[in-house]
Symmetry: C2
């Protein structure tokens, strides 16, 4: 899968531009027109040229810091991921700078500007509100690894197979005996939310169950949206007999809504989450969910980034970790023979 490697001099020969111009285009510095920059980047993409991050870094001062971009530290998904990153980084002599951007694209961009001010040697992206192409362009300027979400094959990405995990979870709900399976998605701008929705739809299709738009609600990963959207779903006629939420926080909200409306869980309504945050086994009923190896994802992503910083060649694309279904009290027992 590795592409042939070109040097910046090769790119200069091929494009006819000077090494300085190409360098400027790559680093996003001024002094090269937007048109010229796009042309150069297009050619570079076609050739599969990978800027020598290590060499570039040697020209600048090493900080031994890694910037970790987190959409919202208050989301319970991230603590174990950060723990994995921090543990690996510290053992390898790196510190982590926390770039919590509070779900604000403005703050996200502030951090990218700080990167240009060399606050860190590399960047771990745990989520982004920017266009995928913007993230890819950033990866040309700074060593980068993406965790959990996915933007492009041009990036090094540590993730799970969200499509397959959601497909399996929907199949599991079917095996538990549920037939009118509704879905509350995560923020639909995120590729991982789209993949979880696609996996759900594909499972329904393969099961011969029709996918009904009124059974699909678009949430935002937060408790309140699970609570509110479950109330909407449970007022539909006929009412769904299961709700598959794209994370555990929304599943907990959905359970609370169902309990308030007098539904008995899991008999009248099954609820399934996603992530397996600690919280999911601390609530009543304990939430059936999809386990994501968050600590391991954090560790692996830090390891890959540090390898890149050390000048190692890391193949681009997805590094996929396994998930598993954790049956708990919010769903009936799966009839495995079915």
């Amino acid at each position: 899968m590795r592409k042939m490697k070109y040097t910046i001099k090769d790119i200069a020969k091929i494009t006819g531009y000077s090494v300085a111009t190409i360098s400027r285009a790559l680093s996003g510095k001024e002094g090269v027109s937007e048109e010229k920059r796009k042309e150069i980047l297009r050619i570079i993409d076609q050739l599969g040229y990978i800027p020598n991050q290590s060499a570039r870094r040697l020209r600048s001062k090493e900080t031994k810091n890694i910037l970790v971009m987190i959409p919202d530290i208050e989301n319970y998904f991230f603590n174990k991921l950060i723990k994995g990153i921090e543990t690996e980084a510290r053992e390898k002599g790196y510190n982590i700078i926390l770039g919590d951007f509070s779900d604000s694209q403005e703050i996200e961009e502030e951090y990218y500007k700080m990167m240009k001010g060399q606050i860190a040697d590399g960047i771990l992206i745990v989520g982004s509100l920017s266009e995928p192409q913007k993230v890819v362009e950033m990866s040309r300027q700074f060593p980068m690894v993406v965790i959990s979400d996915y933007f492009s094959d041009e990036l090094v990405t540590v993730c799970i197979d969200n499509f397959k995990a959601a497909y399996d979870a929907t199949m599991f709900l079917y095996k538990c005996g549920y037939r009118r399976i509704a879905k509350i998605t995560g923020k639909i701008g995120a590729m991982l939310s789209q993949d979880r929705l696609k996996g759900y739809k594909m499972a329904l299709e393969n099961l011969g169950l029709s996918s009904d738009e009124k059974y699909i609600k678009y949430g935002d990963f937060k408790y309140e949206s699970g609570y509110k959207l479950a109330k909407e779903l449970l007022s539909a006629k006929p009412c769904p007999d299961a709700i598959f939420c794209s994370n555990d926080e929304m599943a907990i909200g959905a359970c609370d809504a169902a309990k308030e409306l007098g539904f008995s869980i899991p008999d009248e309504l099954g609820v399934m989450g996603f992530d397996d945050i600690e919280l999911s086994s601390m609530v009543t009923p304990k939430i059936t969910t999809v386990h994501q190896p968050r600590y391991e994802m954090g560790k692996l992503s830090a390891q890959l980034l540090i390898n890149i910083l050390a000048g190692e060649e890391i193949s681009k694309g997805k590094y996929i970790l396994d998930t598993s279904i954790i049956p708990r009290d919010s769903t009936k027992n799966a009839n495995i023979t079915k």
Copy 2:
């Protein structure tokens, strides 16, 4: 409360040591015997000399980083605190380096060593496993603010009044009609845990209720310890009719234990938490608790540290923020006339 300020030259005159030796003693550098260092620090303590952090910092390179020392990022208490710190720091042009030491003194000390390697301009201590005197000595080497826990009047500390908050919470349980009020403490090495225990004991004393050692269990702030210790408490004869836990995670564990044993909450058993983490209103029953202004504590501590870094004089001692009791479903209604 401000003490007269001495310069390093005054200290030299008074002690008879050279400025260089005193500087070495203060910064923890080699070249001065342990005995000599202790003598110098003792005299300095008596005089109330405050090393000019700002001047020291000007001699070294500014990093525009703040190190935030967190005992365990997986504890749900810290997310809002970090959010407050991060927001204030970013607005003032500082980044935060996350020093999660995973409840390990070894890792905590690794981070202090890194501070000597100038990874950050100042340090926010959200908890420590070191001796108070060690933390005080550190504060002579680096600009420092302590949050939430308390070590010494020689430090700038942003906190709540843990004694008073626990006193009020115990009084509240009494007003709800509970009479055999048990306590599950936090890690008892932490001053805040001791203060919460003392407040509980003082309330019982003032109420004329005897404080019974068999009703006091020593927990560690984690769900599992709340669960396990509540089971122990509920097997006592006579059994307590309320459990006041020193944080919400343990209160949630205590509720789960009580439910398993068939206790009806809040009628047969009242459970009270501390902190008001988001989780406490997401579980069943929703937990009655003491609200701590975590975001504001984070913001204020970052603000104070940044002021110190800017060379401002900040009074040492406690900066105390208000708490309030949040009545929810895990306790009966308080009879206010009682």
